[in-house]
């Protein structure tokens, strides 16, 4: 029999991941109500309560007494007289199950009460006091987890063979390990809450704080643990009874009834069904109840129904291919036309994250996409390589070397990803597998691209590390991501992006997560790589300094759209869109010393709130009524400069 439920371990994460700042401002519906609202929760609760009530009311409900036997009706199947049949002495199985549930359930309740009592006290105290107390309690819980539960129980039942109840004391003790661990981590989170600090200031003792402030808040996790420990206790109590411990023949109990059924199954196999079924049904209802309770408690902690972190997933073939609005210009490596990315929102409607982006990128050139966070820059960069947010769709066109990437199959995309278009992400430390050395990460992609042998791949990995100017490549190759600095890790991801000798590198804010001193080194590295091998770079950034240092062309994005596109040398002196203008003014490097740094009021609206007209109008100093009337098209200004603003002429006046 298993001492662990499939839930107990995952239960460690559930209520443990309490947001530190969670406050109980609006009173949510009661836990019971939230459980009943879920069909499985309601069913499990009804079944469990039904079993308890039926066993408690056995003298009233049972059609027969537990010992009433009829020698004329032995080992019968189900009938009108005996709904669940009869046993080897002709006793009514239903009646015996109802009476037999009482010692089983009472014993389980005893073990559960002990486990939850100990688990709550030790868990709360160790989570609250931390330090030495915490370490000792954690060690104790570890010790309990490694005890061979059933063996210890058998030793104890042999002392008191006539009853299960004494054995439930050590069972409760051993089962308290899981509640200790879970309630400790929940308490740790609650402790961080502001109002417990406030309680301390108000002069309450630690004990008062634990009882008045911590306990009420961890009620939910305690109930969850109680159901799970209860389920395991029912299994244990009936297992002991099955072995013949703690039962007094002829008194019925669930476990011993299975043993009786086992000795008769050659004549009547039906007998096994209701006896084992009663145990399984009880355990199942408790386990499911615990599962639903945990979800309901999680909902209470976060305030909303738990939403999964968006999983980035390819739209694959789902992306419909719309005809590009313009043919690619000759000599162009990557030509993107009217690229759109949509993803399903929580309410089921499709949100447009990227709305018709077009640009060209030629060999040896750098295009910078600039904008605030939430404008769709990164989504655009990934969409080119066929990766969309969960359930998302990519449409439009991205032509690369004569192939259409939008709507291409996974294997067609794989032939391009890494091998011809390299990708460098924002945070190098999360971009590497933590269990893999940098050398093996590089050798892996080298082998995937070229199919060469391990030794050759390793040599190439060292070359790549040297190429990104890491000193002592042999040493770095043997290190894990957690052993190197962010700057070194970013060089490793650049080395990975170079492994396939790509024609294009997509760099998604490659310096944002790095120290200022390292940023310049990484950019200098990219520039020198471009000069030496003629790679085209698609650079996502919000840093004008980076644009000035690297870019040939600039595309400014706002709320999923391109709002301005021009040559890099023009943008700084002749911005043609108020958003670009304000972004430039907010740049610390360009602001006059000693004056307050201007910032753009408000924030980028969420995709669901994008207006019909100009999406920047709400934050724009030049906004007029006609801005919001209808969608604004990209307008040609002069010399290939384009802007999505109908009042750009006034911008000159303001400057």
């Amino acid at each position: 029999m298993s001492a662990i439920s499939p839930l107990q371990t995952s239960g460690l994460e559930g209520p443990g991941s309490v947001p530190a700042g969670a406050t109980a401002s609006a009173k949510p519906p009661s836990l019971l109500l939230r459980v009943l609202r879920r069909p499985i929760g309601a069913a499990a609760l009804i079944v469990f309560v039904g079993i308890i009530v039926a066993c408690a009311a056995a003298p009233l409900l049972a059609p027969d007494g537990p010992y009433a036997s009829s020698l004329l009706a032995e080992l019968q199947g189900p009938s009108v007289h005996h709904l669940l049949g009869t046993d080897e002495l002709g006793r009514d199985i239903l009646s015996r199950l109802l009476y037999g549930g009482r010692p089983t359930l009472l014993a389980a309740a005893e073990a559960t009460a002990i486990a939850i009592f100990l688990g709550t006290i030790l868990g709360v105290v160790s989570g609250y006091r931390r330090g030495l107390t915490d370490r000792v309690v954690s060690l104790w819980a570890d010790l309990l987890l490694t005890m061979p539960v059933l063996v210890v129980l058998i030793v104890v039942v042999s002392v008191y063979p006539s009853s299960l109840y004494p054995a439930m004391l050590p069972l409760g003790l051993m089962l308290s390990a899981a509640p200790i661990r879970v309630l400790r981590s929940v308490t740790l989170a609650v402790r961080e809450d502001l109002y417990i600090d406030a309680a301390r200031v108000n002069g309450l003792t630690h004990r008062q704080i634990m009882i008045r402030h911590v306990l009420p808040r961890i009620r939910g996790p305690i109930v969850v643990q109680a159901t799970l420990v209860g389920a395991v206790s029912v299994l244990m109590a009936s297992g002991l009874a099955f072995l013949g411990f703690g039962v007094q023949v002829p008194a019925p109990s669930w476990g011993s009834m299975v043993a009786e059924a086992a000795s008769e199954y050659q004549q009547q196999s039906w007998f096994l069904v209701p006896t084992g079924g009663a145990i399984a049904l009880t355990v199942l209802s408790l386990g499911l109840l615990g599962d639903v309770l945990r979800d309901a408690v999680a909902e209470q902690w976060t305030g909303v129904a738990p939403r999964r972190r968006p999983r980035v997933k390819s739209a694959g073939n789902a992306g419909s291919i719309a005809a590009g609005s313009a043919e690619a210009a000759p000599g162009v490596t990557l030509s993107v036309r009217d690229l759109r990315v949509t993803a399903p929102a929580a309410n089921g409607t499709d949100l447009v994250l990227v709305d018709g982006i077009s640009f060209d990128l030629s060999a040896g050139r750098t295009l910078a996409i600039v904008g605030e966070s939430g404008c769709g820059k990164s989504v655009t960069a990934r969409a080119i390589l066929g990766v969309a947010p969960a359930g998302g769709r990519i449409s439009g066109s991205a032509r690369f070397d004569g192939r259409e990437l939008v709507g291409a199959s996974e294997s067609q995309l794989r032939a391009v990803r890494g091998r011809r278009i390299g990708f460098i992400g924002q945070d190098p430390l999360t971009a590497l597998d933590p269990t893999q050395t940098t050398g093996s990460a590089l050798a892996e992609v080298v082998r995937a691209y070229s199919g060469c042998r391990a030794a050759a791949a390793r040599g190439r990995a060292l070359e790549l590390l040297a190429r990104v100017r890491l000193e002592n490549p042999e040493r770095i190759a043997g290190l894990y991501p957690h052993q190197i600095s962010g700057g070194m890790a970013q060089r490793v991801t650049i080395a990975r992006a170079l492994a396939g000798d790509p024609e294009i590198i997509v760099a998604d804010e490659p310096t944002t997560a790095l120290d200022v001193t390292v940023q310049a080194d990484i950019l200098a590295l990219l520039v020198s790589l471009q000069l030496s091998s003629g790679i085209a770079i698609l650079l996502i950034t919000h840093d004008w300094g980076v644009v000035a240092g690297m870019a040939d062309e600039v595309l400014v994005m706002y709320a999923g759209q391109a709002v301005e596109r021009t040559a890099a040398e023009r943008i700084f002196d002749h911005p043609q869109h108020p958003y670009t203008d304000l972004l430039l003014r907010a740049n610390p490097q360009r602001a006059p010393a000693g004056s307050a740094l201007p910032s753009i009021r408000g924030t980028v609206p969420e995709p669901a709130d994008w207006p019909v007209g100009c999406r920047f109008a709400g934050r724009c100093p030049l906004a007029q009524d006609d801005c919001q009337a209808a969608p604004i098209p990209m307008l040609a200004v002069e010399g290939g400069h384009e802007s999505r603003c109908i009042h750009a002429d006034q911008l000159q006046a303001v400057r």
């Binding site: 001492a3 010790l143 199954y265 196999s269 691209y449 052993q483």
Partner: protein, 314 residues
């Protein structure tokens, strides 16, 4: 690394002490008197006292424990009060059965559980829900009941496998395997379903992490990403639960050995507990605890192998 393992091993010493003292104290409280049981009904007072004295049962518990501990440190677990065989030989005879069961059930539940878990991440949807339902069934069905049902349908009705008994490996490997199939299946049901659920949770969490996306963007194949990187990073929670299930299944052997009439440590424990045979109980408990210690050591070793932070930093 070595220090880490040593520290983990040191933790098992208090466990062995705790379990052995607990057993000793608890068994000493047994109201039934082993001397009476050995002598049977018709014995004289003098015979009784002589035997009681010979067994050392008149001394205080602590002295008895000290005596036992001295024996253990000299490599002996004492003699059974009933069979008068040495406890070590009696336990060693039965160790093979229990270890075969636990190792077999751990391997089966590991392979089946991880396989199902990975499948449910790859195909999601209906298979994921089916695995959920399956894991609830595995959790709720008592293994002794499952064992009886398997005996009824697979062994008795279909006559595919023997319903009970054990054949040592040395005697006939084929019969040994056949005698173990049903018990191992019974024992591994809960583990396989629990491990499947844990694998699904851990793997789908890992597959949503940034480095997985960056590997897709680097053009690595789905299979490489899933098995070489996803599973490897999800392995620690999976290994943790495998260890917990291995310990739980060790306890489960007691019930399963009873159902399939296997001469293992579990059935010895049940017999000794019924007979109040203290040295045998103590011996079985020590062996069980040693197996638990071994399981934990293997789990700790695999943590270190799986997580470079442990391997290098400590």
């Amino acid at each position: 690394m070595l220090a880490y393992l040593l520290r983990r091993l040191l933790l098992s010493v208090p466990l062995l002490f705790l379990v052995s003292i607990l057993t000793f104290v608890v068994v000493a409280l047994i109201p039934g008197d082993p001397a009476v049981r050995i002598l049977g009904a018709g014995h004289t007072e003098a015979e009784y006292h002589a035997l009681d004295h010979k067994l050392g049962l008149t001394k205080p518990i602590l002295t008895q424990y000290g005596h036992w501990l001295g024996q253990v440190l000299h490599g002996s677990l004492g003699t059974s009060l009933f069979s008068l065989q040495s406890v070590s030989s009696e336990v060693n005879q039965r160790l093979g059965v229990t270890v075969s069961l636990v190792v077999g059930a751990t391997l089966v539940s590991l392979v089946v559980g991880v396989g199902l878990g990975v499948a449910s991440v790859v195909w999601r949807g209906p298979l994921g829900r089916a695995i959920d339902a399956f894991s609830w069934a595995g959790f709720a069905i008592p293994n002794f009941w499952l064992g009886l049902i398997l005996v009824e349908y697979v062994a008795v009705k279909a006559k595919l496998l023997p319903p009970s008994g054990y054949v040592p490996l040395a005697q006939s490997p084929w019969d040994w395997l056949q005698s173990l199939i049903l018990p191992v299946l019974t024992l591994s049901a809960a583990g396989a379903t629990g491990i499947a659920k844990q694998t699904r949770d851990a793997l789908s969490e890992v597959m949503s992490r940034e480095f997985i996306v960056s590997m897709r963007l680097a053009g690595l194949s789905r299979g490489t990403i899933l098995f070489r990187h996803g599973l490897r990073n999800a392995a620690i929670p999976i290994v943790t639960i495998v260890g917990l299930f291995a310990v739980a299944m060790l306890g489960g052997t007691i019930l399963v050995e009873q159902v399939f009439v296997l001469p293992g440590l579990g059935s010895l424990a049940v017999q000794a507990a019924t007979d109040h045979d203290l040295p045998v109980i103590e011996g079985v408990v020590i062996y069980f605890t040693l197996i638990v210690v071994a399981v934990n050591l293997i789990i700790d070793l695999s943590y270190a192998w799986l997580n470079p932070r442990i391997r290098i930093a400590r």
